[in-house]
């Protein structure tokens, strides 16, 4: 397998086959919490993509250091620290440079820190022993996959608001059911790519 095809497969795998939300079931909290409107879903996805790519690069470099020092058991705590710092930094910069986006994202921006999809991504990169370029491509695919799932789901939820749903199924109940159906639809991608 040439380098190009391998990178493409890694990207496709993170985007569709092993979609972080719908196949790995990571980051379910923002998936349900920020999917009521398409606008906020898009904003959240952009912030997550940025944090995912940045965090992957930094954690990949830090992992080299951890391995060299013989402290691989510290990955989780170090990665979380890096992610938290990064999210804070993004928040500070956004507040200065783009107040509009900052207001639109609101509370969801700091909440990215506790989004397990990002820590999961950083740990998966290390586990699968990706190179730096592979890590970046994997992070981009994972971020886009997260955005894809979020945007699809938010459009479904916007439409669902218009239909008559039995009282007991309104809100989160119907959201969970449709999330399950969406996840089943994504199972169709299984076997598309094998790494």
């Amino acid at each position: 397998m040439s380098v190009g095809t391998r990178l493409f497969f890694i990207f496709l795998s993170a985007l569709l086959v092993n979609n972080f939300v719908l196949s790995r079931f990571l980051g379910i909290c923002p998936f349900l919490g920020v999917s009521k409107k398409v606008d906020t879903a898009v904003g959240m996805s952009l912030a997550v993509i940025f944090v995912m790519v940045m965090a992957s690069i930094i954690t990949w470099l830090l992992n080299l250091l951890l391995v060299a020092m013989g402290l691989p058991f510290l990955t989780t705590i170090v990665f979380i620290l890096i992610i938290a710092v990064l999210v804070q930094f993004v928040e500070i910069v956004l507040k200065k440079t783009s107040p509009g986006l900052y207001e639109a994202l609101g509370i969801f921006l700091p909440l990215i820190t506790t989004n397990c999809a990002i820590l999961g991504l950083a740990l998966l990169n290390v586990q699968q022993e990706f190179s730096l370029i592979e890590t970046i491509v994997h992070a981009a695919g994972a971020g886009l996959g997260f955005g894809l799932a979020l945007v699809i789901f938010s459009t479904i939820r916007e439409k669902m608001e218009l239909y008559e749903i039995p009282e007991s199924f309104k809100g989160t109940a119907s959201a969970l059911v449709s999330a399950g159906l969406l996840s089943m639809a994504f199972m169709g991608f299984q076997g598309l790519v094998k790494l």
């Binding site: 020092m69 402290l71 620290l81 200065k96």
Partner: protein, 230 residues
């Protein structure tokens, strides 16, 4: 050894990230408009949300941008907030900046200085509203029966008997309105429900029209409000 290494590594990491964030925070510090700060200082600061914004800071920002009128702060209306906001709006940006620097960027001090400089009217002492007792409310409600105009006006009022108008309950206020002894603007919660317009509409009706509307709605305040429309 492992413990020493982990401690050193995490210590260094924590320190660098802390320094990095502190540096970023000062480098990208956002200077907030002193005008917004002054408006916020003039507001009651109880974050009640009655203006439609999540808190007083949201209202202050919108007011500074000219998006809301000075009467938008509902609890502040009776404590002279609109007058203070007016004084801030009338002051030029240069003067505000000068006052802001003089008072050491302290919003409270700056506001006091600005108000004394512009000679804004002193804060009127608000009369504490008394919530009427249920007996009193019931007494006036009984008096509505033989007054059709007042009954209809009662339907247009919020019917929460808050006592903010200074009368014991909505029924007593409706009787006063029917006798043209009060202004509908005195109904504080009603300002957001177009009560003055509704009352004016009712006052224009003939006695036959009033009778008809009362019969159609069976005197139910909810139905009367629907009939009168927004």
């Amino acid at each position: 050894m492992i413990i020493v290494y982990s401690t050193i590594l995490l210590g260094i990491l924590g320190l660098t990230s802390g320094l990095f964030l502190a540096f970023a925070a000062s480098k990208f510090a956002v200077k907030e408009d002193p005008r917004v700060k002054l408006v916020e200082a003039a507001l009651p600061g109880i974050n009640c949300g009655a203006c439609g914004f999540p808190g007083c800071s949201g209202f202050a920002k919108a007011y500074a941008d000219g998006k809301v009128p000075k009467e938008g702060c509902i609890p502040g209306r009776r404590s002279g907030v609109p007058e203070k906001l007016e004084a801030i709006t009338k002051t030029s940006q240069e003067k505000i900046l000068a006052i802001w620097k003089e008072s050491g960027e302290d919003a409270e001090k700056a506001l006091q200085k600005l108000l004394s400089a512009t000679g804004a009217p002193p804060k009127p002492v608000p009369k504490k509203p008394v919530r009427p007792s249920p007996d009193e409310v019931a007494k006036y409600k009984g008096m509505l029966k033989d007054n059709e105009l007042a009954s209809l006006i009662y339907g247009a009022l919020p019917n929460i008997d808050c006592g903010l108008c200074g009368h014991p309950g909505c029924a007593a206020f409706a009787l006063k309105l029917a006798a043209s002894e009060e202004k509908p603007e005195k109904c504080v919660p009603g300002m957001r429900q177009n009560v003055p317009e509704k009352v004016a509409k009712i006052k224009k009706m003939s006695s036959n029209e009033i009778k008809k509307m009362l019969e159609e709605t069976a005197g139910d305040p909810k139905k009367i409000k629907e009939k009168l429309g927004g």
